[in-house]
Point group: C2
Chain length 1007, copies 2
Amino acid sequence: MTQKASLQTIILQLQEFWAAHGCLIGQPYYTQVGAGTMNPSTFLRVLGPEPWNVAYVEPSIRPDDGRYGENPNRFQQHTQFQVILKPDPGNPVELYLQSLEVLGLNPRQHDIRLVEDNWEQPAISAWGLGWEIWLDGQEITQFTYFQQVGGQSLDPVAVEITYGLERILIALNNAAAIWDEPWGTGVTYGEVRRHDEFEQSKYYFETADVPRLRQLYDLYKAEAEACLAHGLVVPAHDYVLKCSHTFNVLDTRGAIGVTERQAFYGQVRDLARRVAETWLEQRKEQEYPLLKESQTSKVKDRAAAANRPSKFDPQPAAFVLEIGVEELPASDLDSAITQLGVNVPRLLDDLHLQHGVVSVSGTPRRLAIMVESLASFQPDRADLVKGPPAERAFDKDNKPTPASIGFARKNGLEPSGLEVRQLDGGKYVVAVVKQAGRPTPEVLVGTLPGLVARIKFDKSMRWLPETRAAGNAGGVVFSRPIRWLVCLFGKTVIPFEYAGLTAGRTTRGLRPYNSPEIEIPGADKYFEIIRKNGIVLDVQERKALIEAGVRKLAASVKGEAILPPELLAEVANLVEKPMPLLGGFDKEYLALPEDVLISVMMKHQRYFPVSRHTGTKHSLLPYFIVVRNGDARGMDLVRQGNEHVVRARFADADFFVREDLKHKLEDFRPRLGTLMFQKKLGSMLDKNERIEKLTEALIPLLGLGADEAVFARRAAHLLKADLVSKMVIEMTSLQGVMGGEYARRDGEAPPVAEAIGEQYQPVPRTRPGLAVALADRLDSLAGLFAAGLAPSGTKDPFGLRRAAIGVVQPLIEHGINFDLRSALKSAAAREPLPVTDEAQAQVLEFITGRLRVVLIDMGYRYDIVDAVLAVQSDNPAGAARAVKQLTAWVARPDWSTLLPGYARCVRILRSAPATDDGPLTINASLLTDPAERGLFDALQASAVRPPSSVDDFLAIVAMLIPAINTFFDKILVMADSKSVRENRLALLQRIAALADGIADLSKLEGF
Amino acid sequence: MTQKASLQTIILQLQEFWAAHGCLIGQPYYTQVGAGTMNPSTFLRVLGPEPWNVAYVEPSIRPDDGRYGENPNRFQQHTQFQVILKPDPGNPVELYLQSLEVLGLNPRQHDIRLVEDNWEQPAISAWGLGWEIWLDGQEITQFTYFQQVGGQSLDPVAVEITYGLERILIALNNAAAIWDEPWGTGVTYGEVRRHDEFEQSKYYFETADVPRLRQLYDLYKAEAEACLAHGLVVPAHDYVLKCSHTFNVLDTRGAIGVTERQAFYGQVRDLARRVAETWLEQRKEQEYPLLKESQTSKVKDRAAAANRPSKFDPQPAAFVLEIGVEELPASDLDSAITQLGVNVPRLLDDLHLQHGVVSVSGTPRRLAIMVESLASFQPDRADLVKGPPAERAFDKDNKPTPASIGFARKNGLEPSGLEVRQLDGGKYVVAVVKQAGRPTPEVLVGTLPGLVARIKFDKSMRWLPETRAAGNAGGVVFSRPIRWLVCLFGKTVIPFEYAGLTAGRTTRGLRPYNSPEIEIPGADKYFEIIRKNGIVLDVQERKALIEAGVRKLAASVKGEAILPPELLAEVANLVEKPMPLLGGFDKEYLALPEDVLISVMMKHQRYFPVSRHTGTKHSLLPYFIVVRNGDARGMDLVRQGNEHVVRARFADADFFVREDLKHKLEDFRPRLGTLMFQKKLGSMLDKNERIEKLTEALIPLLGLGADEAVFARRAAHLLKADLVSKMVIEMTSLQGVMGGEYARRDGEAPPVAEAIGEQYQPVPRTRPGLAVALADRLDSLAGLFAAGLAPSGTKDPFGLRRAAIGVVQPLIEHGINFDLRSALKSAAAREPLPVTDEAQAQVLEFITGRLRVVLIDMGYRYDIVDAVLAVQSDNPAGAARAVKQLTAWVARPDWSTLLPGYARCVRILRSAPATDDGPLTINASLLTDPAERGLFDALQASAVRPPSSVDDFLAIVAMLIPAINTFFDKILVMADSKSVRENRLALLQRIAALADGIADLSKLEGF
């Protein structure tokens, strides 16, 4: 391109394009919104049955994306172009790609990819499935099939396309940053917007007044409520948007704690839901004004053609079924292939269709089933149908009775065709019903819809209006929309219908080649044609190609690719034609923490990083390998694009880290006071101070050494400081990691830095780390339970299940005995609100519940776990040891004598009448029978002190078993004499009581 | 047109048009604004020297325009299309008209008019001059040359064009209302927006919570201040906009009183000004980034051609000067013609140019000066220059001295050419300097710029950047931009330069014909060519054409046109080619109050209403006459357009009146409590209650009869109730009028209704009306002075000057004696804050000041007024009578003896030594001299009681004059004997004191 693109030409072109495709052209909303989705043109209009097609620009405000105008493509205000298509026109992805071509983005020159995205906006109770659309590694568009908005399920589903215009402009002009690109003639984007970016960033991060913003939020909320009370849905929505923006500003100011965030979300969500409900009611009352005849008839009915298959060659032949889809998520592709691998043979067997090898393969855009040598007919079959008893079937003249005549007619036979057989212990008339095998196409046309429908996904979506999906029982859902079906038996089409489509012989080629339509003449040509069109259908083949390519590229810069199998599997499922290419970045970014670099490359970009080993150390190289979908055309553009993305992301991280490093970690600590943990529990600073005190209390409980104690105290002091660092505010997942990093750079002792760094890990490696993590988690549990915020049902907004697991698991793995009960009491004493004994008991019970899950997950039998936890749960490490020992005992060959022997002692005590005053005492002088004397002596000999472990206890029991067995053989425990009886019971009580504090064996199977 | 226009095609077309003309395309702002002007793309970017051309849509929110979706083209949200051109490209009106043609508005089919508009937005300290652009009577665009924004003068000036898209759409589709017109394909405007209109109207008028909104306003203001304190200008501006919108909502809720409004305005204005200042400072620091070379060179330099006139015919010839302008306001046109009528002959005389008849005429687009038979040269002239005295000019040898040689050389003569003349009482050497007359074109080319520059207007504007106007001393200002100059002397162009233009021979034709360029071959052809092009140059001729046409059309419906001369004069100055046409409206609207109908037709629309006389009554007919600019083409479209406008306006009024009539006037009264009068002075309800009590007190002071008192009391009770009626909230100018109207319809006694109706008139006709008006005005004066809000300098935000005049003028006209002092005391006693004696004295002094102005304006001599007011001002009617009488006395022939006589008495008292203890007493026994005895007797005889009026007093003086004259002739007042002296002084004191309470004659001229 010689002429540079400009922001405004892009907008004008998109407006024209979408207007020409039937969209209304709307305008940005008049109050700050985080996305075009919040504009009522989307939020309200996607609700209900009315059609709605609209396109508009939306300058979207996201305060926390502000970068003072320093980042090349990240800003607190970016320009979205929003398109809503409702109902789904059937080809929205193709329309979108056409619009990119209008802008000048040739798919042959670039790498355009649809990357799974499960879009969710909890603040407005909305979700949908779709993709991020990547251009050379840069997300330029969000593409979503809305499933739910404002808590309302959508029918029809609406397609949302959200272009990020700045990024598109950068790509079109192959620019390094947005600032010098034209807005319009003679004026750059930077000249229009950069100074605003600086000021607004400063405002949002530094200046906005927190108390005033909180007041604004409250006023907006009250006004939204009042509007709703008057049924004024649009004004109410306006105030919901203002609430939402104000919340975002507060959050950017760092004034919102984790738990407070939940409360805000809850309020906004509730309001948004009520707005949506009210709108729906109103539209219903107005009888859906936009539901016009002309609109609904727009939808082409594709299911018009006659569906019976016609003539075919009656020889066995190859069969192919291709399910053409919009890009499936990587894991859904794997799952679908696995399911079909099981279901297809099963279906063929159920249908009695003989067949050769079945193979299932697939790419993000197609699932392909190939069956070799499929029989062209079912075999003929004879089924025996049982009729009336023979004596009632014929009269004395041996003529058929009316009963048998009726039976014969029902089965399509003459009475003379009936036979008599010995069946079910009697003689019965039977009809042998012969069934001619039906032709395969005829069989399949009715059963294949079920095969497709049976594929299940973790998250499924709707895209057809309910009315159109009605032909398919239970509606049509799939991972992503199904857009074509190819089904051939030999050369014959099997025109089954599913999801509003009729199967045919037309497949589609690669996206970068504009998905050309391709005719498949016969099933046997399918693989060949697909391969000829550049598509690698087999997952393993794609993986192998990628791995080889990636290794080669890494070697070209004397490095080794970091190639974890999960990433390889994912990348292989993102492309139909893999083409790895090497990109680089400025090596100054290698100074960033490695966690940050790796996280950006692998997690965000699905790149393979490159490292080099020198001696025992490995270090990253300033390269990455990306796998393009397509061929080598335009490779330089694709590389530049990807490099641009990485540069922008690293620049962003670098900005934060440099900003943060202007201060010591300790300097951040006071600002924790502005970060609310939870209203009743104070700020994060309050929490940090509680953690410090609690850590002090835990040091003796955990038995830390003197050095460890010093490190733990210091780590506790700095523990949460990184929460107000810019890097963590930006990437929450780096919390703790950054704290550790910053502590190290501040010159804190390495164990201190490590303890801070691992505080969020399920099991901290070091003991100081364990101490502070436990303090943090116990504080949360005690405080939030007391505040009435315990998890309920499936809801656990504060992650307390994770916290409880985080208490028990590390104690088990470190094998440290620990008194949970007193630790919790310590925590409770420091909370700013009373934590009653009852609340503490609840917390302990909750932790025990998690402990049970942890132990069962470790592979222990649930009954063994229950037996131990019934009596000892306050010390997780001890309980784990006990479970382990008990498991070993249960596995012993003599367990079958051990358990019953001990059980007899316990069980007879249960059936004995209750005694009034506590445990009985043994009067040795009353033990007259040798059998009871023997048991008593054995007991005296083995149990000199109470057993301290399962091993102890069961070793004693093992020794007692012969005496116990003799005792029960010889002795009548329930003697008439009360004193004799009670003396014997007392003896057995002593034996039963050996388990006290160890385990309750009655919970075990076989007790 | 077969295809209907849609809102979105209009937008797309305008975006393309303006983008093609070098504008950036922007987006609507993300916070509610009342107009695109508030968007920082206008508000900030028009400031400072940088060029800026931008166009964007702005859905603008004006809460009080909400009509619940019931009005055809009035809504709380309307869609503006905003264009900013900075600097002025030289042809912005033509560009704008081209854009209308692109939309499909053919100027030959419509009546497109530029109607004077002095745009002002005090809330942001902004003003400019320009026009409303009317399409068939409907305002479709506001076109302004910004002069000042945010209190900053603009240089260069920016042109703002604000299209009203809904109205344009209505016009394009010739529709009755917006609702059924297409937004885009298949969806109407109403379907997109009507329900919103209903809900938002309801919210703004009924639901919005006043206390919460007030809190929001305060928070926004505080946040704006904080942003300014940090130098964050864009965030500050955002909050200023939020303040402004919140204020608008409060106002729509009826929660803002008149004086409170001023306070709000003041705050917002102050913030806006500081935002503008800060922005300007920032841009300066950044060295005006947009001030690029390429941009400034855009401006074409038109003054390149050589400017010396060339050859011409040396005969006297006709001269014409046409100043081509963008549409002048009607009164500016008249004023310019008058000024030129004086200045042109004066200029020609000053230049010694002989000439025939000078005529000046003009239309809104041109001022034309025609001079018949203008001499082609100035006459030759001889000037006498005085040199040194003759005796010093020649030496004894009669040779010229060096002095005279130097003198001769200086005047371009040989010493021998000097003459000696008798001059100024001596002999001097003189030089007779002969000056050849210069050719007329050469003379005029240098003087005509001054002629144009000397035309002054009440409000002038700049449009050229200061740098380009620099050639013209003092810069270039005019009523509206000058766009061409025609200047011909005979066939010769006089190419003088002014305002960046060079005069030539090209004029322009009628706007509706696209202003074609027309060549004028010679001055004598000018009138003929102008007429041939359809332009009626003469004001009187246009008036006559209009009057005849209007009368004829009125007669065609058996009516008579209401044709006030001011309106006729205005309309004649709005067109170049008048074409009256008759339109009608639904006669049901005749049920509206006539004031409303007339006000809409005459004031808003410049239409001539039509009425019919039946007996003594006249009544309006459902017609109006509009005068189009142009010919008869497309007349039906023009009529329909105008009828649509009237219908919409009447529908609007009808809506209000019907809404209002659902309640009795009395029912509105309690809601006055929500309307703030002034913070310290309480609500309008408080004020109304004070007025009631004060009226009670004024009844005896005014001497009302029993019936009058009853009416006054009732009127006072209902006095302000209409302020919260919808009609008055909408058209504030109808306050009082509507109250009277509603009172009448409620069945109140007619005098009550009348009193309410005339409360705001300068002089209420009835005495109950007078009573309530005085009560209202005195209450305001007392309260606002006490609150520290007295007028200062030229500032009088609460109209207190008008209030004071409204106290004195009616009292004078009704001739009612009145004790202002005690009335004011009464008012003061009822104020909610203390009104000190000092404050009361200030109010009285202030009222006296107004009284003086009123009396002087009545034609009385200032010294007479001062003489009276020096001693009596508490009773305006009395003072007026005194002034009148004194004026008559002053006019008497014997005044020249009366005044000196009396004055002698007074003056001698002043020069007498001060006495210690008050007035002296006359001891008759000490009066020994007949002259003093005579004066004493005359005094005793004439002044039996103190005079009660000027007439009384001066009649006595007249009688005393002979005795006074004798007294002073014979008597030495300052006798040596103290007792004699004091006795004589006492006698004169008695005479002087006759004026006490009447007048202080020492203030008179000649005293």
